[in-house]
Symmetry: C2
Subunit: 193 residues, 2 copies
């Protein structure tokens, strides 16, 4: 299954303005992930984070070049993911190996990147990361499930999650909703066309 | 208490493109309210609709001129609301009386309109309607509670609910979340500044 998870502000941004390697989530964007780092963690949030990012369920990761560029420095010596990662890009480039994580660059289009990731995932989920690639895979009908964590903040600009789409660009079916004390986790099945 | 309720698409629109009196919710916008008219109604949706729009809890309504113009023809001979309605506008105009509903035009600014509505509500809630006026009252710190019904459709454009705000334009605290089979109702307390 190809799925995406995004923490999104109430005004629809998956990262704030001015995304740089020093400020990977943009201005104010770190607040989108505060629910993951609360101490003590909310039990609902902990369960969602575990099921979304657990190594046992995720078999491969798909992301854009921009996500790699701003993220790599934060992912540590082992590359964090520990599963094959595929980076959609236009320029061919040698793989980046970070101990147990390999980032492979895919230049022959999104559809092939999804196929490669799906094959590498070997029956587990492919997790799609980054607002741009999520939007592209979604509108190309390549995503099975979209998970949104709705965070009640206003970022006022940045990386839009679902902005600038065509009317009816994707069709969703609400599958599960769980709210913690501070945020709400929504899970949608996406109609592949 | 001043509160607003909006049914909003997953891409953040409270109405579709091309809003006209014949198409009051814009193109595709009627789908935002399908949850209110399902047959049989989902018990959660029914409870939310009842508590949001019940005459016993709403004492006055506040809206913009545009909402009045596109809505009036749809609100029937009795004007639907049955409580004092206040219309924020720049041009003075005689009140419109529809049997049990009076629409009074307020030309001395949003803050005064809210005050007038609150007085008329006589201890009950003031319900704020229409994307523009909701956004204006929200950013002016005049709203106590924002209720969002999140509808998993893509409108691709139209009346943005929270677009084009400044970062941190409003602060929210998640109060209650209830999901039906098709939509999710989120209730936020707004920090008045």
């Amino acid at each position: 299954m190809i799925r995406a998870h995004m923490s999104v502000s109430l005004d629809g941004f998956a990262a704030g303005r001015e995304i740089t390697p020093d400020q990977a989530m943009g201005r104010g964007g770190d607040d989108l992930h505060a629910w993951m780092f609360a101490s003590p963690p909310d039990p609902i949030d902990r369960a969602i984070a575990a099921s979304t990012f657990a190594a046992g369920t995720v078999g491969a990761v798909l992301m854009g070049r921009r996500t790699l560029e701003v993220g790599l420095a934060h992912w540590g010596d082992d590359g964090t993911f520990g599963v094959p990662c595929f980076v959609v890009t236009h320029k061919p480039r040698e793989p980046i190996i970070k101990e147990r994580t390999t980032f492979t660059f895919v230049t022959d289009g999104l559809r092939h990147a999804v196929e490669q990731a799906n094959e590498a995932a070997d029956g587990k989920h492919v997790q799609v990361m980054g607002a741009d690639v999520v939007r592209q895979t979604l509108t190309a009908g390549l995503i099975d499930e979209l998970q949104i964590t709705l965070v009640p903040i206003i970022l006022g600009g940045g990386a839009t999650m679902l902005g600038d789409l065509e009317p009816g660009a994707a069709r969703f079916e609400q599958v599960e909703v769980r709210s913690s004390a501070t945020v709400t986790h929504l899970r949608y099945r996406v109609d592949r066309r």
